[in-house]
Amino acid sequence: MTHLLPLALRSAWNRRYTLGLTLIAIALSVTLLLGIERVRQDARDSFAQAVSGTDLVVGARSSPLQLLLYAVFHIGEASNNMSWASAQTLAAHPAVAWTIPLSLGDSHRGFPVLGTTAAYFEHFRYGDKQALQLAQGKPFSGLFDVVLGAEVAARLGYRLGDPIVLAHGMRGGAHADEDEHEPGHAEHGDKPFTVVGILARTGTPVDRTLHIALEALEAIHLDWQGGAPIPGFSIPPAFVKKFDLAPKAVSAVLVGLKSRAAVFAMQRHVADFRAEPLMAILPGVALAELWALLAVAERVLLAVSALVLAVSLAGLVAVVLAGLGERRRELAILRANGARPLDLFALLAFEGCAVTVAGAFVGTLLLTLLTALLGPWVEAHYGLVLRLAAPNAAELELLAWVIAVGTLASLLPGYRAYRLSLADGLTPRV
């Protein structure tokens, strides 16, 4: 068979344009297929990283998904707040090791502003039980101090000491890309904040968040009512300390327990809370259930990309088969010079197989290239960390499938060549 290999290569080179285009089609569809699989896995990993250190998320009773999304991912808004008193009762529960109260609602250039306490910097854990690290500066201590997530600082070019004005509400003026603010959009311009700390990158939503004290959130809304400044009434920053800045309500509370085993009991305890209707979710479980529901959509996406691949492979078979018409004479010549019908079968099958393998290889390479080039952009815009790595087991399995199907499909032109060479003998009927 080895004497055929140089022939096969020269023959393929002779038809490099059609075969090259087919190869590109296969490579692109392999990139798509692998890309979808990789984004799927990376999204799961990425999301899981963000919830890893929290035993329970407690909030006003609503939908668990909503609570998960705004408390952990800062997406959407709380339909109800829970009272500060309840948050404190919860914190005092003997099974509870720590709590981190969260208040969301305001934003800055599209990034969410999170009101919290010092406990956030002490107890929050992400990824593999990692604590937050400050790349520069210190946690907030003054009332109008703000600590930036790594992405916020990087994207907006903020440094320690820079002043920042928060916008009211989550629509938060323009997205960070568009550099203009909605005219007339309500801002807390009278009470600017100062950057006192910048967190190290975590690969979680923390990177895209601005952190201020709960009291600061109270302070900037002292002279506000119903989402707008009270006309003709303004309290200058210097005077806010004269008011009671203790928070009245929070959006959610992250809870860490002393013993993991208590988590289910604690969840029931929260659900039976007397003072107000509350709800506790296990973030990891909520996420798993979310993924289970999304599995259908994921499968559809994978199926569509598999279909695209199937189309490319069908294209390959069509191209090789169409070429066979022109190559009938070539096959007869080879036959006259000693090639067995089986050799011709191998010649054609090898061609399709080689193009598939090359396509799979180029596609993987392309994906790696795209990940390297677009990874930082995707992380910046979507908070999704794409891993730049060799194909993992699942991806290798997909690749194996691609090559197997491609090889199988290539048997068709091989078989056709075999039949033709038997029927034609030395005199092809073209």
Binding site: L65, L282, A288, L293, Y382
Partner: protein, 175 residues
């Protein structure tokens, strides 16, 4: 903003279904469907089973005759012999420490309000000599209680939290 597009898709697809699939403790009572909460903490393995009585016993009220009383006793025996219901990774060398069963509906004194449907709650405690080897539990409830079709399991362990749906085909709970 972050995760915007991804999550938007997620929300659109999932939200309606998710609202129904709600893991608050006071869950819907669905025959054949049980809940299993598993907590792994150091050398202890806690399992809490919540199941409609129907799946375990066939009826959900105070037993009325000797046959039904015998059925209740048999069920209690089966649950008490929990080493046959839950088989943790052998290498972890786990032993059953205690079983607590709560089924007020079976008790004439406390039987009450909802005469139609009633649940049974059972807590199982194992302790394991080699906790680092503990990676899962083979859940054999389906064989012992053929009326049970599905178990919605939640696990918290050192590796995090997860949720899995167990069935006769997929009865190994790993973490």
């Amino acid at each position: 903003m972050q995760f915007k597009s991804l999550t938007l898709i997620a929300l659109l697809i999932a939200a309606p279904a998710y609202a129904r699939h709600d893991h608050t403790p006071h869950h819907a009572h669905v025959h054949g469907v049980a809940k299993l909460d598993v907590a792994v903490d150091g050398g202890t393995l806690n399992l809490r089973l919540e199941s409609p009585l129907e799946g375990l016993l066939g009826f959900e009220r105070v037993p009325r005759n000797d046959r039904e009383r015998a059925a209740v006793a048999e069920m209690r025996n089966k649950l008490g012999d929990a080493g046959k219901l839950f088989v943790p990774t052998t290498a972890a060398q786990c032993t059953l420490k205690s079983v607590q069963i709560e089924a007020p509906a079976l008790d004439a004194k406390s039987a009450s309000a909802n005469p139609e449907h009633a649940d049974l709650d059972a807590d199982f405690l194992f302790t394991c000599a080699q906790p680092s080897k503990l990676t899962g539990v083979d859940v054999r409830l389906f064989q012992v209680f053929p009326n049970m079709r599905r178990i919605d399991a939640r696990v918290v362990s050192g590796k995090g939290q997860k949720a899995t749906r167990l069935s006769t085909k997929m009865r190994f709970l790993s973490w």
